[in-house]
Symmetry: D2
Subunit: 337 residues, 4 copies
């Protein structure tokens, strides 16, 4: 931690700050410049918890030197992680493809979709049983009934299955049926849910919040990991900006940024990022080119009648064409599916 | 609902759309312009749930005509609501002042603060027992012990007390101790929590999410209200933008915008909006001038040693000076405290 | 300047950085922590121009300690400036009210408006002769003809007049007719225009760019001032965010932030910030409460037929009512108009 | 244009609106729903210039049906344009690679870079002679001297050359030396500059403004085209968001969005978008995968000593490795360079 004093800070103010640091058993490195004095703190800054140098006399600003996430931090775990889920792994070498409907509507819709996406190369079936919807009057999901359909689809196809959970109660149900839990964008900082997902021990796909910085996202992953569950995969799904041509703005730079800051795998969801079917294919290719470990894509037997997010869903044919087009990109990035 | 066709949409495409609408028992108003055809839908658009005109052949875009929130909507409830909480009301005529520490640290800190803010004119004591913190290694709150201190402070001072809840479990505990529940920014779209708060019947202060539009915020209020709990107060606390001089950007326009769209009271939290102590006073005045029904302000006996958000907390003296300065602004806006 | 090394930076990397600094005649303060080494630079960092420590071996990040703007900086000019324009001053004690149409449409419209706003208390007439419009097919302004009407209006009413300039050519014309030049949001980083405005010697109102940080804004002011023209007034007019209920988001916090960083006066434009007539009055009050030195408000004889920005313009009656309502707020903030 | 009336709009208010429309010689289509009445306008809405229905009695909102840009609009020009510049073309089939230093520093630096990037496959040399810099105290460019070096480099290597222009004066000089003008992000809505670039007849690369929507960007292109110069290429270079891990956020979705809205070619600048050297390669691949027509990349003989934007510049070796890696991606997208 570095404390930058104001240009007009008195000697007494500087002494006040250094005294406070030393009283906690830490060391101080003082650097007096022509205009400002800088106080460097040497030692475990955890000892300074509850001390707010920002409001101390004469202090201009406080700069953090190290990140607050540890388990997710590449600095302390330089090798990229491989996460084992169901009958597969997510990470280096593999390109993971998760596909399926936004919401599970009925058994037939889900089973049909499962066989179709399996045939086109997906290794995960996605489908929402608990739907967080902006309006309470929109379709909210089939809940446990939906989870049962997921389990049936997995038994019939051999696909791994993933489902979003929106409450501790949903986690309790989901762990009985699915291979991987998804925490959605709106719950990225629902810390109680993160901790519960951590305690479940089941692999977790953590989507980025709509206005979460990458550092906040990694701290959210740290909540799961600090409960003993290191099987976390991150999913970029677009952030909120002023642009309205797409539902969100896919922050594709997040892929290389995460690669440099964390060892956890990263997948990209071009369907939610854009909200527009015709933009899904170019952005899926782009995710692979940027180095993503996988994709999450919405597929529906009849998008015009989907109960949720139809405009962004691909038909079976469109998805099949897409996976064919993706294979050479996967090969270029040293991955296969 | 209005469906705007593409310039090159065929007659057949237009017929496809109108047939779909009429098959659901709704009426169509067709408007053929020089360049585009517009299809107006007349009747209850709820009947079109699960139909996605965006992906239908020839459709350019779909424009919603009415808001999805009903109970929170001023159009259907033109008179401003007065919410009864504890021994007071929030809404027209009153200026509600909620003050207290970000986090409850111990009994003495809370009790001291309660007496101080009461003396300066606050009628609510705020204090966090469950703290949503970006890092799992930051102080997470005293939980039920904190709630007990809140109840004691309320008995000792006559202040109404409000506490943030972050899980269904926290709601169960909180309803035994406090007058009002707070749903924080990070949980604004934690829909399970909103529904549970709705079912509790206890008045709820709903903070705006960091990147929530005003319409999403009103839909979140609708989640609480649709469970039968109409005692909802909104709290603007800053949104996330590119500006870094303040922690968030206080969207002061939200006050008049909400005034025109909803009958629910609106209060403003200048402490979280800015994250900087010296900006709290000007923004508090500004909130009253913009027409807010109240303020939520962080006050701490010793901000330099606060376990959470010290840099933005006022000392007792600063808070006392502030409330004196606020009285003439309250008078100008026809309110008292 | 502080250079933070990576945790795994070698001794050689640290020496590389320090050697570079010392070779330019500056001193180094080295602070070796448990995890990272920090290199403080002591002396005039201008000597390091053209050295990019970010890309040097072993460097994690570079933190600036001092702002790049000097003339606009409160640290070197602690007293708030008073800017003399025409027959008045902008700054402490005064509340400056600039009012008038978005675009000058004809002589009658402007003259009528001038008399009306004068009567209601404005001391500046605003009006656009050169209109930056999103589409080339929108009304672009009367240019020099409009400037002549401005001068006539000033002679008839005694109001000071201000006009936006969008090119060096427009500045050449405008200086013959008006008391103050306005640089609009879209041109805030049109540095050639800023320098030309600086060279003109005429007082300048510099609007904030739609996505400009406060520091960029002050650097833009510095461009004008570094040409020898210190008569700069800043105007907050809303920034671009994801919210669509208002045209822009008024960043009211900018007023106290600027007060702490610069000695230049600050005024607020609630008309452009919101784009909605009914939000102008609450936000005008709020600007005064936040400590602004003045307001810029759009007024039009017949907003329904304005050639530009009608929806946000006040009628004469609305403006007159507003100024009456503003007087007690001005009095509270120790200002008069 | 569609005008949506408020739920409580009177018959008289609806008549007022329709009368106004009909008085301009346009036709009205009225659609009376259960809750609201919608007024459709049929005919050339240019006739309604200067009428602001938003402020008319009883009006809730006004929805535009058609875009304001015409020449840039794909609806009226469905085939993708090919832009001829110097000895090459930008558009379908080709992958254009523009490379060079952010700022031209001296003849040797530029010439060295020109030969290096030519050898690695670039067909354009970029280099700034007029640098828009946030601070007036940063290096501002060599101006005409720099342009002369560009011309020399072009003669020596056969590369086409492109240079940013920041004023009408700079355009006058640049047209004598370069093949293509660049309008930078900060000047995207400097409409006088756009018009002047249009009148020059020289091909223009138009960068997206930091907070410009795609529609505003296309309207800016329209300014150039409406002066008779249809040789416009668009360049996505990152938008401003809350994320701070990268200098800007590359909006990669803009590539497919533009592909659907305009016939103009689109290139991507990953150097300015991220500001970080190690992110340039993944994002360059990603741009090609998304369908971009080209790339603009910063290359410098010695990035550690660059006078501008060193941290994001590639060395010659890094650039050479990158172009090799890009070739298979170009092949996949049916392009060559």
């Amino acid at each position: 931690m570095i404390i930058i004093m104001k240009p007009n800070a008195t000697e007494e103010a500087v002494r006040g700050v250094t005294r406070e640091i030393e009283s906690k058993g830490l060391k101080v490195h003082l650097s007096k410049g022509d205009q400002v004095t800088i106080v460097g703190v040497v030692g475990d800054k955890g000892l300074l918890r509850g001390v707010n140098f920002e409001v101390a006399e004469g202090v201009d600003k406080v700069v953090a030197v190290t990140e607050s996430y540890k388990l997710a931090n590449k600095k302390f775990h330089p090798e990229d992680s491989i996460i084992h889920v169901g009958n597969t792994t997510i990470g280096p070498g593999n390109l993971t493809i998760m596909a399926g409907p936004c919401a599970i509507e009925n058994q037939e819709q889900l089973m049909q979709t499962a066989f179709a996406v399996k045939k086109s190369g997906a290794n995960f079936l996605r489908g929402g049983a608990y739907k967080p919807r902006t309006s309470p009057y929109s379709f909210q999901g089939l809940e446990e009934e939906g989870l049962r359909y997921m389990k049936e689809a997995r038994e019939a196809t051999g696909l791994n299955v993933i489902c979003e959970v929106t409450s501790e109660h949903a986690i309790e149900s989901a762990v009985k049926y699915v291979d991987m839990l998804q925490i959605g964008a709106r719950n990225m900082q629902n810390f109680e849910l993160l901790k519960e997902a951590g305690r479940s021990g089941v692999p977790v796909l953590l989507k980025r919040g709509l206005s979460a910085t990458i550092d906040e996202w990694l701290n959210a992953a740290e909540y799961i990991m600090s409960e003993g569950n290191e099987n976390v995969v991150l999913c970029e799904r677009g952030i909120r900006t002023f642009e309205t041509a797409t539902r969100n703005t896919l922050d594709i730079s997040a892929v290389p940024v995460l690669r440099s800051r964390t060892h956890l795998p990263v997948i990209v969801d071009p369907s939610h990022a854009t909200g527009v079917r015709s933009y899904v294919a170019p952005l899926a290719k782009c995710a692979i080119a940027a180095g993503a470990d996988g994709l999450m894509i919405e597929v529906h037997p009849n998008p015009a009648c989907a109960l949720s997010d139809g405009p962004q869903s691909l038909t079976f044919e469109q998805f099949d064409r897409l996976t064919s087009e993706l294979r050479p990109y996967a090969a270029l990035s040293g991955r296969s599916f």
